[in-house]
């Protein structure tokens, strides 16, 4: 098990790799990946029973990234977990590369092909239901964007999740309050979001989606209530970790200029330096 401090260092390093990948490819969904990378870090390094060794088996946890556009975060974490060589990420979005701009099962470690929003939750419900039918103990995790919740399919899937009492299903909402056009509440009002999820039959918890210890705690306390699907409202900041990308509407799929890229890397190196001062060499 990695310590909280070690995971915090990983988050900084993942952010650097995400930005490098996007810069190298001159394409990508920048802010959404920075928004969810701490969640992926904790899941893959601390919570999920998923590894290159057990990936071919049915009996293991599953992770579906329904907000597929944040694929950079997923690729970086999977490379770190040994699913493929990190150098392969140099081919991201390049001609004939398997590493396209959304999760695809052509890439080792990817559970399900996504990219069109509003599909992942239904698929995760199917996976969790199979787990129940087979009386297995493993869990299914699915990450949704908050803007993604506009899609009605999420609410159909939610009814199924409650109907089948899928307490082995863990739905995480990356609640960064932004979609492409602007703030979620201005584009299409989601609030009162917790009330809606409760009414649909979930056991709902809130978490700071960038706090490593809080994320670990919340995932460890699943199932929140027996017989109810779990829903985590992860309060996040779109573009987290790079001051001038945070909470901005322009960074959804903007690629940093050379200058912005170097400024972003400098900020993250500063964060890494602070980490070393605090925890020693690492």
């Amino acid at each position: 098990m990695m310590t909280v401090a070690e995971l915090e260092l990983k988050s900084i390093q993942y952010r650097k790799k995400i930005l490098s990948m996007i810069k190298h490819a001159n394409a990508g969904h920048t802010a959404g990946s920075l928004s969810c990378v701490d969640i992926l870090n904790v899941l893959y390094n601390q919570i999920l029973n998923i590894s290159p060794e057990n990936f071919a088996l049915y009996q293991r946890d599953r992770y579906v990234q329904s907000k597929g556009h944040s694929v950079e975060a997923l690729y970086v974490v999977l490379a770190d977990r040994g699913f493929f060589a990190e150098s392969e990420l140099d081919t991201f979005e390049q001609y004939q590369s398997p590493f396209i701009g959304h999760p695809t099962r052509k890439v080792p470690g990817i559970e399900h092909n996504t990219g069109a929003l509003g599909h992942g939750l239904s698929v995760a419900v199917g996976m969790a239901l199979a787990g129940k039918l087979d009386r297995r103990l493993d869990k299914v995790y699915v990450l949704l964007g908050d803007g993604e919740l506009d899609e009605g399919s999420n609410w159909e899937a939610s009814m199924s999740a409650a109907h089948y009492k899928l307490d082995n299903l863990v739905v995480i909402v990356d609640r960064n309050m932004l979609q492409i056009t602007g703030r979620t509440e201005e584009v299409n009002q989601l609030e009162p979001l917790e009330d809606k999820f409760v009414a649909f039959g979930y056991a709902v918890r809130h978490v700071d989606g960038h706090s490593i210890p809080d994320l670990i705690n919340i995932f460890k306390s699943v199932p929140f209530e027996n017989g109810k699907p779990n829903l985590i409202l992860a309060h996040t900041v779109k573009g987290k970790g790079v001051s001038f990308m945070e909470n901005g509407t322009s960074w959804h799929h903007r690629v940093p200029t050379d200058e912005e890229f170097h400024a972003a890397i400098r900020e993250l190196e500063q964060a890494e330096k602070k980490w070393r001062e605090r925890y020693g060499a690492g």
Binding site: Y95, P98, G101, H102, G152
Partner: protein, 317 residues
């Protein structure tokens, strides 16, 4: 040939002009106004914008309802989501219920390149051609786009307009006659005619120059309207050319090529024929132009295809 703007820009500019004159014009967006280049429209005419969030089924249904209540609605969403997620609403609430909604499929075909299959629309001609009562227009250049959008405003039937993302070459004189349902003959050739649509028309035009150098006489028809299809222009080309090559940014199944092939067969016209379109396979990763090149939709590739088709005919004789 001179490079123009992206057709999307021309769509947005034309829509703004129309919206200023027609207060009943509404644009319905689904977290898509940025990609649709509608920032200026939204700023200038905020009261004529309806935002529905990331919800394509809802977008099409609301557009049908607005139309039923007297609005002139342009429903704008990426072609991939609009014609897949929103398909049942298109079929029932728009086409079957005869609501003349103007469905605008943006960043169509493989415009989204390396974002992959979820973002490609290589199925839209096939599914919409199988549905009664929806016209399909695929503008090839800025001129065709502008004329299509203007004509769409008071078009009496449901219409789907498909637009790509990248700047395109100018193909027509501004005084060319444009009519939905009437193909435009760009040039005539006695050896081979390219019957193309949308953004594959420009590479076909360039291919004719390569062929001229080889002493092969070739022509191009821009079939901007897939439905209703201008059968007359196609049959005329097939009776004056020795061979036909169709070109489209769509699956090889159910698009322009298969429409033309069945038309020719049914009329008893047997000419050497080649369909250039995307095979039904896991799509190669790349930008739009890399994907086009991968499948030989380039001036050189099309010239090669036409040359081979003509040669194989001679061998058979």
């Amino acid at each position: 040939m001179e490079l123009g703007k992206p057709n999307l820009d021309v769509f947005a500019e034309t829509l703004l002009e129309l919206g200023r004159q027609e207060p009943n014009l509404l644009v319905v967006t689904g977290d898509s106004r940025g990609s649709a280049k509608l920032a200026a429209f939204c700023q200038t005419l905020p009261g004529q914008v309806v935002e529905v969030g990331i919800a394509e089924q809802n977008l099409v249904g609301i557009s049908a309802g607005l139309t039923a209540a007297g609005k002139k609605v342009f429903a704008v969403s990426p072609a991939c989501f609009l014609t897949a997620r929103g398909l049942e609403q298109i079929k029932n609430d728009v086409a079957y219920s005869d609501m003349p909604v103007k469905l605008i499929g943006i960043s169509a075909g493989v415009s989204y390149g390396a974002l992959g299959t979820t973002h490609h629309s290589l199925h839209d001609f096939a599914v919409l051609l199988a549905i009664h009562n929806i016209d399909i227009v695929v503008p090839a250049d800025n001129f065709e786009t502008r004329e299509t959008v203007k004509a769409a405003l008071n078009h009496p039937r449901p219409i789907y307009i498909r637009l790509d993302k990248k700047p395109v070459y100018h193909l027509h004189h501004p005084d060319t006659v444009f009519q939905i349902g009437k193909a435009i003959v760009l040039s005539r050739g006695s050896d081979v005619t390219f019957i193309a649509t949308g953004e594959t028309v420009a590479p076909a035009v360039m291919a004719t120059r390569v062929l001229t150098e080889r002493g092969i006489s070739s022509g191009v028809i821009s079939v901007h309207t897939l439905c209703p299809l201008d059968e007359e222009s196609i049959l005329e080309a097939a009776s004056t050319s020795r061979a036909i090559v169709t070109v489209e940014e769509h699956s090889v199944n159910g698009g322009l090529g298969s429409r033309v092939a069945s038309l020719l067969l049914e009329k008893g016209i047997f000419v050497p024929f080649k369909m250039v379109a995307f095979p039904v396979e896991y799509m190669v990763t790349g930008s739009q132009s890399e994907i086009f090149a991968h499948y030989n939709i380039t001036p050189q590739g099309l010239a090669e295809t036409a040359t081979r088709l003509l040669c194989s005919k001679q061998e058979i004789k």
